[in-house]
Amino acid sequence: MKLAVMGAGAVGRSVAKLAGEYGHTVTALADSSGAVVDADGIDVAAVLARKRGSGTVGDAEVATALDAPYDALVEATPTTLSDAQPGFGHVEAALERDRHVVLANKGPVAERYDEVRALAADSRGEVLFEAAVAGAIPTLSTIDSLGPERVRAVRGVLNGTANFVLSRMAAEGLDYEHVLAEAQDLGVAEADPSFDVEGTDAALKCVILANVLYDGGYTLADAEVEGIRSIPGSALELAAEDGRTVRLIGEVSDGSVRVGPRLVPENGTLAVTGTTNIVQLETEHAGQLNISGAGAGGPETASAVLADVGRLPPVD
């Protein structure tokens, strides 16, 4: 398949690098300031070297990537809230051309899911977004094979940064600020960690899950969200004395979406450590399913993107 990759962050770059191995051709790659287009396939290594040197992938206008010849558009620009731009516009442009869309970007399917669905209904293109929920973990494809109506609840640890901070705090008896600084040094947390530690990122993933389970209608505004900033080391110690610990848990059940720090058994399934994510599905007939793994990272998330690309039917 020919791919146009929008976004040249960790995920977009990894998709471009790995596409060849999966039998695909990257015909366009765009970042926030430029684009490169070649109907026969761009030279990914050269383009990424150029980006490392000059900061951008190419001189062409970003919009030229949208007009390039491609079968599927990979939307990997940064997640934005409310209007979910520019991601939403890219999705719209691809669907209007009857092309497929594969999202790593959470914005369009969390904040404007119903609009994306309406656009897809009028298009011969399809929209898939496995990579938007818990990176490498095959959450949506598992739900799809179970049937969304047979999944009663989804719970999980859906943000690696918050989980790293909480599990380090518990293990080392350190306070939030200290561990956060350490996480920033290690590159686990961003300079502005608010998206992760305030629960927004986990909430967006839960909103996407709610849209899938309940056939749309959810945005971030429908989620009850609390972050981990307010959890002192002393609270984790008290929990540990009692064989428990605290994790930032996202929960989708009975039509509601909730993210917040919760007490869980210290050795329980959901008490994953470090940056690991876990998704727990409560199903009608299959009991409880737990899938854990990398919830972020370039190649990990790209593998979910490319798995989606592999599921798409040929265009035309």
């Binding site: 110690e237 009692d242 058994p265 409560e282």
Partner: protein, 175 residues
């Protein structure tokens, strides 16, 4: 179910001050196989919500008692506490905030007063002194089926005092 499984239970109800309310509250008990032992109708003692508290002692098997409490709730009778060891569920929450400044013992008694819970033990940790943020682990016994109600009470009390609550995750079958 053998006769030896019959236990005595005390149920505390809150009734509206209207004719027929007491009878309406007692019917589900008899209808569901409970044996009434005594009724203490505290007419002079009105709750802050304007209800009249009634304490009912009865005998029933645990299964029937479960049905009685359910029937009372279905009938719209406010069941405040249904006492029995058998009937309690452990609930642990963490509270975080200015616990000492906001009068921890008052916080705890408010939770006990308006919920279905009795507090078993409390551990407080204030490593930076009582003027700074502190944490408490509160272990409660709550009436089975009233966990959500109790958590709602804890949330409301904490909210009024600007405290954070870390609630337990109710996992289906996970340990």
């Amino acid at each position: 179910m053998s006769e030896s499984d019959v236990r005595s239970y005390t149920v505390r109800l809150e009734l509206q001050d209207e004719p027929g309310e007491l009878l309406r509250a007692l019917e589900p008990i008899a209808d569901n196989g409970g044996n009434l032992l005594s009724i203490f109708h505290e007419r002079g003692n009105v709750t802050p919500r304007g209800h009249i508290p009634v304490e009912v002692d009865m005998e029933a098997t645990p299964e029937r008692f479960e049905g009685i409490v359910e029937a009372l709730r279905d009938a719209g009778v406010n069941v405040i506490r249904a006492g029995s060891e058998q009937y309690s569920e452990e609930l642990v929450v963490l509270l975080v905030g200015h616990l000492v400044d906001t009068d921890l013992s008052d916080t705890l008694s408010r939770i006990e007063d308006c919920g279905n819970a009795s507090i078993d033990d409390v551990a407080l940790s204030a490593p930076d002194g009582t003027d700074e943020l502190s944490s408490a682990r509160v272990r409660m016994d709550t009436h089975a089926g009233a966990v959500e109600e109790t958590l709602a009470t804890v949330r409301a009390v904490a909210d009024r005092k600007g405290l954070h609550v870390v609630e337990p995750l109710a996992e289906g079958g996970d340990a």
